[in-house]
Symmetry: C2
Subunit: 321 residues, 2 copies
């Protein structure tokens, strides 16, 4: 949750002139988005999210995020459309920060995912992978596999708050992941953070995908693995095979998986689990006092990593090969 940069009513008024908007009906900082300052804005032209990009989002990446969502919207994909100003630009500056005005999407995040939710999540993920084909910009995965060992080593310096065998366990898991990782799977743009917080539902129907600030180029099936971890476990961290079946089924309605993608899923799920275990561990250990972001529990992803360690192939998930 975050509003890092305060926007004065006067600066907002100036900013909106470029969009031919002059009447502000509502303007509230919203406690959403770890990386940016976000405001709910209602004007005479409708409802919007106003985003100011903060330090954690590299300024050079802002055009990538805005162009990607514009590309997806143009192909009918349900994500927030960047609004162009009178001169056609979607990126502006406000209070000294890169800023963008973005369409407001209705809907709310759900927290207990049902198979019906998961089928839609899988389907929208496949549609994201298809709709982003032909997108001309690329962005490396700054949280990709090659970064995890280094992250583990940074965490280790203070990892004595954890039992020693956790350290050994994480290194052993990284050994297996590095030895078996597949760089040859079908690739493209992935969302890379498609957690329940980033999907809006209305009346049980998926209305939109938000928060593309981890989107990058990587293996498409790795994005599925992230979703399996995020959507296919109960709140008690037990695997929910009905959710996984629905998620993969929904995905394959839009894009058929290749055999090597299916075979790689347990490995990719281990990778996705260790990625979030490590970034959460890092955020917990190096949490800046006074930070607006509440650290999440890395144990959740350690538990998921252990579960996937016991899975040899997709039948281990209770799924058909």
């Amino acid at each position: 949750m975050a509003v890092y940069t305060h926007v004065s009513a006067e600066a907002l008024h100036e900013f909106l002139k470029a969009y031919d908007m002059d009447e502000v009906l509502a303007f509230k900082g919203i406690a959403e988005g770890v990386e940016n300052s976000n405001y709910f804005l209602q004007t005479n032209k409708g409802r919007f999210i106003l985003t100011l990009y903060e330090k954690r989002v590299a300024e050079k990446d802002v055009p990538f995020f805005l162009a990607l969502t514009a590309h997806l919207c143009a192909r009918g994909f349900p994500c927030p459309k960047p609004i162009a100003d009178k001169s056609g630009r979607v990126q502006s500056v406000l209070e000294g920060r890169p800023a963008a005005l973005i369409q407001f999407l209705e809907g709310v995040s759900i927290h207990k995912a049902s198979p019906e939710h998961c089928a839609q999540v899988g389907n929208v993920l496949a549609r994201l992978h298809l709709a982003s084909q032909g997108f001309s910009l690329t962005r490396a995965n700054t949280q990709g596999m090659s970064t995890w060992r280094g992250l583990l080593q940074v965490c280790e310096k203070k990892i004595d708050t954890y039992p020693h065998d956790v350290r050994d366990e994480l290194h052993a898991a990284m050994d297996g992941i590095e030895q078996n990782w597949r760089e040859d799977l079908p690739g493209g743009i992935i969302h890379a953070d498609l957690f329940p917080d980033n999907i809006l539902f209305r009346g049980g129907e998926l209305k939109g995908v938000i928060d593309f600030y981890f989107a990058c180029n990587d293996s498409l099936a790795y994005d599925i693995a992230i979703c399996m971890n995020a959507w296919c476990f109960t709140p008690e961290w037990n695997f929910a095979p009905d959710n996984a079946r629905a998620l993969l089924g929904g995905y394959q309605q839009a894009r058929a998986l290749q055999k090597d993608e299916i075979d790689a899923l347990p490995l990719l799920c281990r990778g996705a689990a260790i990625r979030f275990a490590l970034t959460r561990l890092h955020d917990l250990i190096y949490h800046v006092d006074g930070s607006l972001v509440t650290p999440k529990d890395p144990m959740e992803y350690l538990v998921k990593l252990r579960f996937h360690d016991g899975i040899k192939d997709i039948k281990g998930y209770g799924l058909e090969p």
Copy 2:
């Protein structure tokens, strides 16, 4: 800015049944309100603020705040109306916290106050003082004059981060305030925190007053003094006599001030200045790392205190007696 308590979509759905609302179109935590968790909520019945009362708001005070704003709304005063559920209750429970659904008011806070703004602020303050007459509940001012010396002593324990003469200056100011304080001025319900953040404007027109969580019984003219400090100084902390003239003029259009209220204004302004200097100093010194509230600069109010120290009567403000 704050969302202390997370509300799940499922708990929200249950909560809204009592209000005959079943469709959630938007639900966003908002970075507003130091004392509570606030959400922007849009349902099939309209737009609302959902407030969860956190520890800093004494649970026993919640009925006072809700009844006060309901009383004011019933008298046409522009403030957010608490929404009654099907059984007529305005106070409920959500995620284990006292909670209320409150009307959403359009408008935005302004940050550079003009005399035109101040005239409306003064007028709405007088209307608040009049409309709350006959309200049956009372609440002591927990930040009233009798608490300031104790607050100063608590701050003193760590006040060596400030120059020593500031300590002497604050004690001397408190001596003068205590010796001259007036308990016999016309009293009633005061807002006690009518800063620019708590007034919504639209197109230059005052649309509403929000955040009654410091409202209490005290001298009405003390509420004017709080507003003079909050609205009648430039961003560089210089006194703005045109703003003060407009504020007092706007006030007296609705409620004429007695001579003893006018005479007491410099004293009350000193009191209001030291109150906010001390609470800001306290928040800065005892700021909990990881707190979601950014401390404000106490120096601003020390500068205002010094200004008022040089004022003998209302002519010192450049105002007509």
